[in-house]
Symmetry: C2
Amino acid sequence: MSTPALDRTAVTDAPILDVLAERWSTRIFDATATIDEEALASALEAARWAPTAANSQPWRLIVTRRGTEAHASVLDSLMGFNSAWAGDAAVLMVFVAETTRDDQPMPWALYDTGQAAAHFTVQAHANGLSTHQMGGFDRDAIATAFALGAEFTPISVMAVGELGDIRTAPAELQQRENAPRERRPIAETLLVNN
Amino acid sequence: MSTPALDRTAVTDAPILDVLAERWSTRIFDATATIDEEALASALEAARWAPTAANSQPWRLIVTRRGTEAHASVLDSLMGFNSAWAGDAAVLMVFVAETTRDDQPMPWALYDTGQAAAHFTVQAHANGLSTHQMGGFDRDAIATAFALGAEFTPISVMAVGELGDIRTAPAELQQRENAPRERRPIAETLLVNN
């Protein structure tokens, strides 16, 4: 892989694990690389072990590989700029929340689906895979394409694959890739700190 | 610390990071230990760097330490069996989703709050802190006690602290602590795998 060393490590105010500091959401994927199936299996296993309310595990996954009709369907569902770059990813996944079970609401389905996605991204990055989550997609199109039951709500699409070469990427992608990584100060997140 | 080596490592079907395999949700906290403030700061920083939709960071935190009125308020809000053990935790936190911003819905607020919580738990465990998330609490009581604005919805309470001694814990806690760790097979989570 000819990717230059692009340091996107977060500048943190307290020490955190390298894998957490170094994880970031690229938009430049290697359009020629196929998925490392062992790395993918590990990331799926990490998601599997995420905590959920009363161990209810109220989430499911759609996993599609580039070249399949399923991958094309997920790509078609993407909105706006996402559709310009996400097709390069070897895998497009949909994180699906089980928002009802036995006709009862599952109040932590979205929250727990987010936890599973976070576990996935952490393990993926540890295994050399890049990820980028997207909210901008047509939920109804996904539900229809994959015949999802009414209990399931697609929440996010995640692009997964090898990092591409920033030097040959379109200018807008290069610009976004080089933008500073920013978060609001933790003090502004703490409503109460007693 | 006199805690015996209690191996709660997940038995996984594919290799995952030790910190993910070894993280689990204890109910036995050391009621005499104060919080390791450096470890807490690192876990908060890990949460800060979690990914969110368009970097909107739609989540906030309430952090309370044992011995404060705020900690007592969070403990009072817990329902059922949670209230029997969570008070031992040096810190009780509330993860709060920003479900509206400028009167517009934030569709990924719960999902992203879950991602932030997951990052927190991973870093906390790496730093030797145990965590346990709870959904069973009175949201209205929390909103009232901490005068939360209408844009904020408390989603989960997290107990954080040092692992306690299972040998001196009540029988029900010992039993739960020794229960097998289980997840459904990943094949059942994959609605599509193409």
